[in-house]
Amino acid sequence: MSAPNCLRCLGRRPSTATTVTAAGRCAPFSTTAVNGNVPMRAKTPNPMAKEIGFRSGARLTIKKKKVNHNEGKAPAPGERKAYRKKIVLSNDNALPVPWLKNMNAEHLASPQSAGKVLSLPSELQDQLRASEAFQPSQNWGFFRKPSTLVRTETVDLVTRMQDSASEKKTLRLVVTGSKLVGKSTMLLQAMAHAYLNGWIVIHIPDAQELVNASTEYGRIPETEPTQYMQPAYALKLLQAIKKANEKVLAKINTVSSHPELPQNIPVNTPLLTLVNAAKEAEGAWPVFHALWSELTNPNANRPPVLFSLDGLSHIMKMSEYRSPSFELIHAHDLAFVRLFNDVLSGNLKFPNGGAVLASTSRSNAPRSPSMEISLAQRKAEQAGAAPEELPKKEPYFKGYDDRVEAVLKSVEVMEVKGLTKPEARSIMEYWAASGMLRAAVDERTVSEKWTLAGNGVLGELERASLLTMKYF
């Protein structure tokens, strides 16, 4: 049973707070606590309590342990990400491989170089690095110089690019394949070829960054349906383009003035100046738009353009951005994605030829059923299947997206498969000569590793022979 007043309170004098307040001033039935001009009493220790002896005497006090929070220096903002994204392209401890040649403009297109390992010249390395073609998950840092194996698929892809450029057509191609098979490396090789041949390369290294609501976005006025620009990403992309394509951009000039830009860009200004006009994120999108219109201008003589993107399935679904009415924005309503899709679907062509390449990803890829079925259909079509034999959509599945299917209606699909055994041998010899594979590379070893790697999946081959000490 609880007493109305606790025993300790009995010792005190009854509170007089209410009596102090003038009764006439407060409402008679108010539930609000009375506060106001009540003179605060100084807290004096109650002598009565001490006499009675409640809770007096020795007390147990437990001291809190002082935790030292200052354990080392916390990484600076962005430092962790920089470490995560760090790309190491050379290893001084690795042995130089004597037979290694630098890649030149013709190498990748010639069938003779299929199955050979070629190293990237340092200028090309810088260009590729600027456009983020290297990925941290690839093992470039094991060897003295970054080098790639030229595969038959590479030669095939590069030849097609060259053909389309010479015919002033746009190659529209999607690179697919199973996990770790070398799809991104295929893109890298295509870009290497483009850089070496004086193309202009625009590369979106990770499509995820465009759609996962990590960069700022804004409506583009006077667009129907509403499109959204991503100014911060535009600035980043422009800087990458500038750094990677500096030489080419300096040579070609604008053919139209761009009155929408705040800077005065007269006709016959080098494109490099145009690109340099973007200093801040604020004006980056108009500058990119101007650059794009210059590159796709049918009246100008432009070098071929390569527009590539890694992680296609990210842009083939709803993005994570919200419209002003808080509805999800379809990825195809983002201006960058729209540009890419216009070229990929064939609605927009590069006047002087070029290529648009997209590669699917298998490690970080949301499911896009429409993309999967479309690519399967295109593959079947290329294999010569009749229209009624094509893979069919599931009639009762609701997750299909017509916009995605419209984009992928007529693209070419190239499936990257595992290496052949001679190719595997070639790359393993390179590993062994670099001192990274402590084994004699004979047919037996090659066959063993090739089989372990799921019939020559390149990434698995690395895991089986290079990364044996790494814990996955």
């Binding site: 042995l95 009762y396 062994a432 084994a439 047919e443």
Partner: protein, 375 residues
């Protein structure tokens, strides 16, 4: 206590006989036997065939006291004069009894009768009872009462159990040796279903026991076996809905709606006939509705290796040639000193390196000139 009453009833059942002799008290006060009609002078109380129950005297008649009964005897034409005389005497004696005693007796009879009603009720074992709950276990060889009392004159109960078990084994062994081979006489040769036998029925039997599932009939058939066009087959599959198995391309239906197996089978037969008629109906071919196979989940772990992996003589020869080729490549490379060996490469690389003297840790600042460096 039902069990006590039950045992009592069973004991009394053995001596269940309706007395033919006329007694002053028609019914024993403590009888657990059901009241049955008694025809005076007739020893058989079973209803004779041809005699309807209404013709039997006293059928379904209860007497409250002896006088009632004695009076019916007196009125009865078939009773002998001697019986009637005795009845007369007894009636007279009854009337001399004081009224209190009569009432007491009547009350007692009534009470006893009421008590006995549930015991007298005839217990019928229901044939349709599923688990046969009231059936006694004939295999139980001990009632567990006093079984642990050992009187030094027998083997232990456990040993008895073991012996019984052994007997049982032997019994089944005898059956296996002597009787089971005779089953071969009943064997029928398997005949694959004929052209017209497209329906495959499955029945369930629980070896004569009653089971709620024994009425179930399952039928399975392949629409392709029926005499239908492609479009009609497809319509039939669509009609079957989730009963269609797209992997086996069969339709499987079951019925346990009716009480008997034959009824269920008839229902299924009728249903299939109706489905086929509907499938043949050209007014609506269901072309606009795609075949729905969402109900079907493909079984996992169905590993099927590609055909090329089968070890055929050609494949063996191909592999052999491949091995020879690779061996040749290796030998050639070795002869030309082109075979890359990782270990050798590393050793050669280390040998090529300029020797670097071992680094020594030295204190910063001026080194004391006199003293040698501390190693």
């Amino acid at each position: 206590m039902a069990s006590t009453a039950n045992s009592l009833r069973l004991c009394l059942r053995t001596s269940r006989q309706t007395s033919s002799a006329v007694s002053p008290l028609l019914r024993r006060a403590l009888s657990t036997t059901t009241a049955r009609c008694g025809m005076p002078g007739n020893t058989s109380y079973l209803t004779p065939t041809g005699v309807t129950k209404s013709e039997i005297p006293f059928y379904n008649q209860t007497f409250q006291d002896p006088s009632e009964y004695l009076q019916t005897v007196l009125k009865d034409a078939s009773a002998s004069p001697r019986d009637k005389q005795r009845a007369q005497q007894m009636l007279k004696a009854w009337e001399e009894i004081p009224i209190d005693q009569k009432r007491e007796l009547q009350q007692l009879t009534k009470d006893a009768q009421n008590e006995m009603v549930p015991l007298r009720r005839h217990m019928r074992t229901r044939p349709t009872q599923f688990w046969s709950a009231h059936e006694q276990d004939p295999d139980l060889i001990t009632d567990e009462i006093g079984e642990d009392d050992f009187e030094e004159d027998d083997i232990m109960a456990g040993a008895h159990g073991k012996l019984e078990e052994h007997r049982e084994y032997r019994e089944y062994a005898r059956i296996a040796v002597w009787e089971m081979p005779l089953l071969a006489n009943f064997a029928k040769k398997f005949e694959p279903p004929a052209e017209g036998e497209v329906l495959r029925f499955r029945y369930t039997s629980y070896m004569g026991e009653f089971h709620p599932a024994d009425r179930k009939v399952v039928v399975e058939f392949c629409p392709r076996d029926l005499d239908l066009t492609e479009a009609q087959q497809l319509k039939l599959c669509k009609l079957a809905g989730s009963r269609y198995n797209p992997e086996k391309e069969t339709i499987k239906m079951s019925c346990e709606r009716f009480e008997h197996q034959a009824q269920n089978k008839r229902y299924l037969g009728d249903l299939i006939a109706k489905m086929i008629t509907t499938a043949k109906d050209p007014t609506d071919t269901f072309e606009d509705i795609p075949l729905d196979t969402r109900h079907y989940k493909k079984k996992k772990n169905q590993i099927s290796f590609p055909k090329e992996w089968y070890m055929t003589p050609e494949r063996k020869a191909e592999l052999e040639a491949q091995r020879k080729r690779s061996l040749m490549i290796d030998t050639q490379k070795r002869a030309r000193h082109e075979l890359v060996d990782g270990v050798q490469m590393i050793e050669a690389g280390i040998a090529e390196m300029e020797p670097v003297e071992e680094l020594v840790a030295v204190k910063r600042g001026k080194a004391p000139a006199a003293r040698p460096l501390r190693r």
